[in-house]
Point group: C2
Chain length 149, copies 2
Amino acid sequence: MKPPQNPVHGCTEAAQNGRDIARMKDEMNKFHGPEGSCEAVSDMLSRIGDKWTVLIVSYLGNGPMRFNELKRGIGNISQKMLTSTLRNLERDGLISRTVTPTRPPSVEYALTEMGHCLLVPVSNLAAWAVDNRERIAAARSSYDARTPE
Amino acid sequence: MKPPQNPVHGCTEAAQNGRDIARMKDEMNKFHGPEGSCEAVSDMLSRIGDKWTVLIVSYLGNGPMRFNELKRGIGNISQKMLTSTLRNLERDGLISRTVTPTRPPSVEYALTEMGHCLLVPVSNLAAWAVDNRERIAAARSSYDARTPE
DNA sequence: CGGCATCCTGCGGGATACTG
DNA sequence: CAGTATCCCGCAGGATGCCG
């Protein structure tokens, strides 16, 4: 029996008010506490939060892809950004780059084990974003409605 | 019996290769599929991935705080960025702003229920970042060592 | 104390053109 | 096909100064 579909993101204000919050605080304290790790987290989040990283990682979650395959899939990304984002991901050990010297040569990108690993928390966050999209939209229009007074 | 300390981030290549990956793919597909939600996720991630949002949210995870309290806690944030990030979070319904009209007035910021809710997936991601910090650092120096050839 | 307004800079990131 | 190189623009975001 594995973690039962756990509703990490459902969070309809019931489930979370107990244990999870406590565990989470611990995480967060170990995270502000020893000065260093805080920066590490901040760092990772700006890497991940950049305009393309998560898109690419999530596309590669469906299996290895070639350069232009990715480009077409994502659609509106420039070669420059695709290249540099892929480079950074490779540098961080999150994806692998395999060149097959045919002519013209083809290059395959794939998630590494660590890349797949990252996909887990990221997809949780993504799920949260999807699930709370409407609430946020509502909060925004509500806020906008009562501020420009 | 609740989710057993689930090793969301430990991911020592064992636990994840089965079900979780599959579930995750589903998440990701529902996420690329219906055109709209993909943007929503991308949006949220750039919000969250910006330089300060997560820091602030995580500080507020320890309880309500006042403006300068936050500023001191974080340390190197400018007033401008603190103000605007707080404003955005308030607009999105993730934090509340309460003015107590003493003199000089004091303003308290606190996470809303949705804010706490966000903290859960975020702390998972943070945990991942902490746990994989060294592997990433290693990957980077390895990469840097063999590229500038 | 908790802000807004202003000025100024760096760099993220798009468009375009050229190579192996 | 899979890049590299160059140019150029916008805006995130720091520094500084003023207000209730």
